[in-house]
Amino acid sequence: MFGLFETGFAGFTWGNGVMLAIGAVFLYLGIAKKMEPLLLVPIGFGVILVNLPFGGLMECIVQGKVVEAYAIGGEPAGLLSRLFRYGLVWEFVPCFIFLGLGAMTDFGPLIANPKTLILGAGAQFGVYAAFFIALLLGFNINEACSIGIIGGADGPTTIFLTNRLAPHLIGATAVAAYTYMAMVPIIQPPVIKALTTKKERAIYMKPQLRPVLKLEKVLFPVIGAITIILLVPKSAPLIGMFMAGNLLRESGVTDRLANTAATAFIDILTILLGLCVGAFMSAGVFLKPASLMVFGLGVAAFAASTFFGVILAKFMNLFLKEKINPMIGAAGVSAVPMAARVVQRMGQEANPRNFLLMHAMGPNVAGVIGTATAAGIFLGMLG
């Protein structure tokens, strides 16, 4: 007879209740507050789906027995556990998302003002700061790398690295990275304000950058890929795809491919990624002290990256004749374009003449390269 014991209610725990509430918060932030809805809506719904007992979406077979949560050594047998294994664990999804990102990225501001590359690299100090904090708190070195990379504010890179070094933390690090990316407008302003005076935030930068030649834009992804991959070989999957996507955009002869990569292709991958990340957050997997600590450390990583970006910009100003607005250093955390948007808004608040968007986009896209390179360095040491 079909009764209460056959329904999901029989397996429902308080932990499922907590996770349903977390999923609902993600949906609220995405739909009502419009905070990164493309990420938070699929992640939030994935969280809800996987916390409805007996649905089997993430089930795996371990030594002949079916377990409901994803098992790293098991054989995936559910709709989303298969997607998770062959999409995320096999690295197709995060790396091809980078191809789409490359097709969406304009390196013009970075090429026009190459010193912003330094700011993108500077913000990566936050990654290493969070790495050391995690080590001090008792995480092992692989876990600490995966936690530190959250400070780079780059979801696909975080998933890529965690999958290689600490796969049991992939749900916590991925959700932390995506959640905090959505919360950049809340996390960054207090850090920026604490480090700068109003006079510094009001520093005017001419909005126009020099025009960038088409040849420069075509050569950038080719030379960039060769240089970075030769220096940090383990960054090849991310940097290679990122620059491939960018070459499609800039070559001028592959517009159809670039348009697909920047629209339908990356959208499909984002749906799959969002559902998978959410689905990894079942109560049994996520509600553990280690996962919650990862979540807490993620904020520290983000704040540290912002801190180092701004401090480096202020340091550069000691030597520059034409001062830069130190806030653009905060855009060195990759979170494109959220971090640049924060800088633009705060720059206008301090001085209505300011229009810092293009200046902030330079460190912003440099931050993407910087974080992928930092991941490659970690992998080179430990992978």
Binding site: Q208, P352, L357
Partner: protein, 74 residues
């Protein structure tokens, strides 16, 4: 009377124009919204004053250096 010319900072499309000639504006008031790089960016009045000329209309594609508006101020 001194004038302040507000120019287009980056290539984009004007989404809306919030002022017309004769309007009094205060520093920080929104003159128009410029969409660029898939973001809506407000263009703000740099000084208190009176709008004497508006050089853009909604839906217009604009390039850097074009005049958005002119403000006369004391």
């Amino acid at each position: 009377m001194p004038q302040e010319i507000i120019e287009v900072p980056i290539t984009g499309k004007i989404i809306s124009v919030e002022v017309k000639p004769g309007d009094e504006v205060k520093e920080g008031d929104t003159i128009c919204i410029l969409e660029s790089m898939k973001m809506e960016n407000p263009i703000l009045a740099p000084v208190d004053g009176t709008i004497t000329e508006v050089g853009v209309t909604a839906e217009q594609v604009v390039k850097p250096g074009e005049t958005i508006a002119i403000i006369e101020y004391q």
